[in-house]
Amino acid sequence: MAPISVVLKRSLVLSLLLMGAQSIHAQSAADEIAKYREMIADGNPSELYEMSGEELWKKPAGPKNASLEKCDLGLGPGIVDGAAAVLPKYFKDTNRVQDLESRLMTCMEKLQGVPSESIIDAKFGVGPKKDMDAIVAYVVTHSKGKKINVSTTHPKEKQMYEMGKRAFFYEGGPFDFSCASCHGSSGKRIRLQDLPNLTTHDGAVAGWGYWPAYRVSSGQFWTMQQRLNDCFRQQRFPYPIYGSDVTIALSMYMAKNANGGIIQTPGLKR
């Protein structure tokens, strides 16, 4: 092992030497990326989704031909303003902790008679999920500027947070990745994309507070469910079921860590 430690010592000195030059290089690229983001921030196509979401919210639909206007997202039936800021949350009627998407599925099932399976199993970006995207865009826009304020006082909420934390560090798959592989320390990037450290308050605000978002690379509005789905895909995990407990637990972990931060959704992402 001796030669190796020599090599490593040398590489430490080297990386210290290189650090100066490197950070300048990375800095100018980061500045330009910041300029790019600023330029596209004005005119976020999420607004288009939000507009059709508002229509879908108010329009009678489903076997029961009812609108979603009486949906209780946690602040009482029909209250949309600020609702996304308190989710995920424990709901007495379902005896579960629910995030926005799973709660909307409950409303669609109860009020409109739309079976949840028809949404869970649908493809992203089309059909019932496309409508779900729009409704989510509408709801989260009404929490823009509000403070993230999730509760962990109910035992089920507390348990969800703890399981989310554990899931965050859970390594698996052929790449040995966990959420923490990319989002467990500060100042890291993949390619040129900054990775928020979701274990810290600021990082969690930057992550949780900016999703759902319009994603420039796919030209689609992505809900948090879809964001998590693609994280697991890149992690080389099996497929997380839409609205499943692991997705809600991770949301709870991020949201709680982000408590007090300002919601910027819908965001605009690469």
Binding site: P3, I4, S5, V6, V7, L8, K9, R10, S11, L12, L14, S15, L18, Q22, H25, A26, A29, Q159, M163, R166, A167, F169, Y170, E171, G172, G173, P174, F175, D176, F177, S178, A180, S181, C182, G184, S185, S186, G187, K188, R189, I190, R191, L192, N197, T199, T200, F232, R233, Q234, R236, F237, P238, Y239, P240, I241, S244, D245, V246, T247, A249
Partner: protein, 214 residues
């Protein structure tokens, strides 16, 4: 605070050992106990899709150990880490043809690609090394990540001793042989890259003609 200390150690574990700068404050002495509620949640939350089989959430000892960062960074954890590293080291095979250095041009293409092994891929989708996702390599590529250290001028500054060659080979084959909870995938262990591909990556880092060493 604890977490960031932990991850730093994850990344620079050996560097720290080399400098004698390791400082651990923790009272955790045993690994996280299995939690049936948690396992139930994991098992019911995922399903097989394409090549991404549900059994991918089953953990091997390395993954289990690294999923508990609090224990991994404890004193008892440090001893366990050495065992894990030993196990991983034992799985590494030297090149069957004795050749360590391949073609840097193919190596660059492998380093660029982050594809493969997801449920949107097929079993025949070539798996990339995804190296630029985390490392600076050829300076001409400005879009690189920083989860791993810069590899620019890797061979030029480190030389080409047999020790370095073997170390580099081992590190690409199975990074966990040196750092139990390295963030780098075990490319040979999980058959993500074959021998030829690893030789090509070796060339990218060590061949004096590679753009990395200009």
């Amino acid at each position: 605070m604890k977490t960031s200390t932990m991850t730093l150690i994850k990344f620079y574990h050996l560097l720290f050992l080399g400098c004698g700068a390791i400082a651990m404050v923790t009272n955790v002495s045993a690994q996280q106990r299995p939690d049936s509620q948690f396992q139930k949640m994991m098992n019911s939350s995922f399903r097989t899709e394409g090549i991404a089989n549900i059994d991918r959430i089953d953990q091997d000892p390395t993954q289990k150990f690294c999923s508990d960062p609090q224990f991994a960074s404890s004193k008892a954890g440090a001893a366990r880490a050495l065992e894990i590293q030993k196990q991983n080291m034992a799985s590494i095979k030297p090149p069957s043809d004795g050749k360590y250095i391949g073609d840097w041009k193919s190596g660059e293409a492998i380093a660029q690609s982050g594809r493969g092994a997801t449920w949107t891929d097929t079993a025949s989708t070539p798996i990339g090394g995804g190296c630029y996702n985390c490392h600076e390599i050829d300076k001409k590529e400005i879009s690189y990540g920083n989860i791993g250290p810069s590899l620019w001028n890797y061979g030029k500054t480190r030389g080409n001793s047999q020790e370095l060659i073997v170390y580099t080979w081992n590190r690409i084959n199975n990074s966990k042989a040196y750092n139990a909870c390295s963030n780098m995938p075990r490319f040979a262990h999980f058959k993500l890259l074959n021998e030829k591909q690893i030789q090509d990556l070796m060339a990218l880092l060590l061949d004096p003609a590679s753009p990395v060493n200009q």
